[in-house]
């Protein structure tokens, strides 16, 4: 009896394992034909009702705009009969997760991602050229700068989405109490930092990140650029930071870290925001999200001064542009997905999310239709929009994630005192050169 039972169980296990393997293999077909109808042919401008899929999948990150996405999905279903399945992934796992599902041929139809992925995903063949699928009205609605960030070889491969412009924000109360003015250069800031540093009373001059990979560069790159260095050299063939200017920028970052909130080894950008809104740090580098958080909590934020980015020794200054994107994957449902993207990128939906979160609009129609964006007295938008012309973005290159890690590790080691800035950048420079060389 026992033997017979064991035999039956073994057979069941073998059959179930075989079934698992089979259901994973033709994933491309199953995701594209997630419906009874055949998927629309790519490039076709009109699709009949019979060619529409039953559903498409859109992935957002960190629950961004999820409530408003649900409304847009409901409207899309009522207009087209196509259900939009929404998924919510964490920011930190998004890159590895999308690579994993893409390799398995199980991609969503569209997702919210980062502009630095554009070139890599295009080279990998995961995505279609968004410009060929979205409407001309939407294409023309984007700012020139936004289109450029999402373009490869002159074509817009991904759709510009949420954009933020980051600069230095100061706690005017803490500056006034210390008897100092808002600085205009990083050198000036370092000079006044000791006056803002009072660890015995839990007060610090700055809050930065020097541990978490992505956010470390969010805080460091504006200083690197202000000092006249960059991630890559002018022709993109080698690193642009292992030089006198780059090392000087890293030294400045290390010097500022001495007066910063000491959680920088494990903090993310959210902790720097908390340090600032809780008035522990006198300054930090970010967008209007902190003010938005205070406003939503009904707290006063009039003590926040949005300053221009601090300049380097030669007077150069840059704000950090952060461009998120919507990506249309090659799943066979590109036409339908593009129609949803067209609906989503309207003032009533995505424009609302941008207004709620304190980001900067990059579509002309948003400025026309949402009063908050055109109000010059709106401190959540106007000063950041004014900094867009001097915004610089992270490069979209193949292997950017490895480049980012190399540079962030170098910054971490230098700030922690493990290596000198020169040695740290020498090591990172050779790693990045190898990555760029392929």
């Amino acid at each position: 009896m026992k033997k017979a039972l064991a035999f039956v169980l073994s057979l069941l296990l073998i059959v179930s394992l075989a079934a698992c393997g089979q259901s994973a293999a033709p994933a491309t077909e199953s995701s594209a034909s997630d419906s009874t109808a055949a998927p629309a042919e790519s490039g076709s401008s009109e699709t009949s009702t019979a060619a529409l899929p039953e559903s498409i999948t859109y992935v957002t990150l960190g629950s961004t705009g999820l409530d408003v996405l649900k409304q847009a999905a409901d409207q899309f279903k009522s207009e087209t009969g196509v259900e939009v399945k929404l998924e919510d992934w964490a920011y930190t796992e998004a890159y590895q997760k999308i690579l994993t599902v893409a390799e398995a041929g199980n991609m969503p139809d569209a997702m919210y991602g980062f502009a630095s992925w554009t070139n890599e995903f295009k080279e990998a063949g995961y995505i279609v050229c968004a410009e060929d699928y979205i409407s001309k009205d939407l294409y023309n609605d984007f700012s020139e700068g936004a289109r450029k960030v999402c373009s490869v070889d002159g074509k817009m491969w991904t759709v510009p989405s949420y954009m933020s412009v980051r600069t230095v924000l100061f706690n005017q109360k803490m500056l006034d109490a210390a008897g100092v003015k808002v600085p205009t250069t990083w050198e000036e800031f370092l000079e006044i930092a000791p006056k803002l540093y009072d660890p015995a009373n839990g007060k610090y001059a700055y809050s930065l990140v020097a541990g978490q990979t992505k956010n470390t560069l969010d805080c460091f790159l504006p200083i690197l650029w202000a000092y006249g260095a960059d991630v890559m050299n002018a022709d993109g063939t080698a690193n642009g930071f292992n030089n006198e200017k780059g090392i000087a920028a890293l030294q400045m970052y290390c010097d500022i870290a001495k007066y910063s909130v000491p959680d920088y080894g494990e903090a993310t950008i959210n902790e720097t925001q908390s340090n600032f809104t809780n008035q522990v740090a006198a300054a930090y580098f970010h967008n209007a999200q902190g003010m938005r958080a205070l406003a939503d909590a009904g707290q006063d934020y009039s003590w926040v001064t949005v300053a221009e980015p601090l300049a380097g020794p030669d007077g150069e200054k840059y704000s950090l542009g952060v461009m998120d994107i919507d990506i249309i994957f090659k799943t066979g449902n590109e036409d339908t997905t593009a129609k949803f993207i067209d609906l989503w990128h309207t003032a009533d939906y995505q424009g609302l999310v941008i207004e709620q979160t304190g980001w900067v609009p990059n579509q002309a129609s948003y400025f026309e239709k949402r009063a908050a964006f055109s109000d010059e007295t709106n401190v959540m938008v106007a000063p950041f929009c004014a900094l867009e012309p001097i915004a610089k973005f992270k490069p979209s290159i193949v292997g950017w994630e490895q480049v980012e890690k190399s540079m962030a590790d170098a910054v971490t080691k230098a700030v922690m005192g493990e290596m000198s800035p020169a040695d740290a950048f020498a090591q990172a420079g050779s790693e990045v050169d190898a990555i760029i060389a392929g």
Binding site: A124, A210, D263, G265, V398, G399, K413
Partner: protein, 207 residues
């Protein structure tokens, strides 16, 4: 004779069925992935999906990386020092619990809390305790004069390994204590009695 051999073979074949499911799971979920990873380690995968055979280059790059010695050092410290601390602390706890004393059951329960606590909860509590600005550990060290600065225990490369090891030892030592204690209870009492009659002291008795 032949009939008996045939029936023995049949018997053994059926017996194999008992472990066949485990063998299949082991092959599919452990051996195959390990083998595939080993195979992939000899290739360089490009963004466009091309797999280029590069031999031992990945291994050469790993050993040439200036961070590699530190990786090995940290791993050795975690494995050897960490294990020694867990076993040592577990032994001390087990020996303490082996004796009978007032409140033994209560103390036993308290000592087992780290082992029973879910890892995620333990991590959150320790993370708060290690917070450089308002954590208990940093505040205690400042109050007793060990330091006058806020120390970022988890975000500082000088202290992070020790900080995480302390948490790991705290969580695992009770498990070691339980195992050692059950082994101690399995030793018959007459062995200790015989040893004490022969003149063995506490340390000799323990050995």
């Amino acid at each position: 004779m032949k009939k008996r051999k045939k029936s023995e073979i049949l018997e053994k074949s059926f017996n194999m069925l008992y472990i066949l499911p485990m063998i299949i799971v082991y092959l599919v979920f452990i051996i195959y992935p390990m083998g595939d990873v080993m195979r992939l380690s000899f290739y360089d995968k490009k963004v466009n999906g091309d797999m280029i055979y590069i031999g031992l280059k990945n291994f050469a790059d790993f050993f040439a990386d200036p961070d590699t010695p530190m990786i090995f050092m940290n791993t050795a410290i975690w494995v050897f020092v960490g294990t020694a601390l867990k076993l040592g602390l577990g032994l001390i706890m087990a020996l303490a619990l082996y004796k009978n004393f007032f409140g033994k059951k209560l103390i036993t329960g308290v000592m087992l809390i780290p082992y029973a606590m879910p890892a995620a909860v333990a991590c959150m509590i320790w993370r708060l305790m290690y917070n450089p600005m308002f954590g208990h550990i940093g505040q205690f060290m400042r109050d007793v004069g060990l330091t006058d600065q806020a120390v970022n225990f988890l975000g500082n490369t000088k202290t992070s390994l020790l900080a995480v090891m302390i948490v790991n030892v705290w969580a695992v030592a009770p498990f070691c204590a339980l195992n050692i204690l059950s082994a101690l209870y399995s030793i018959p009492k007459y062995i200790y009695e015989a040893a004490s009659i022969d003149g063995a002291n506490g340390w000799q008795g323990g050995k």
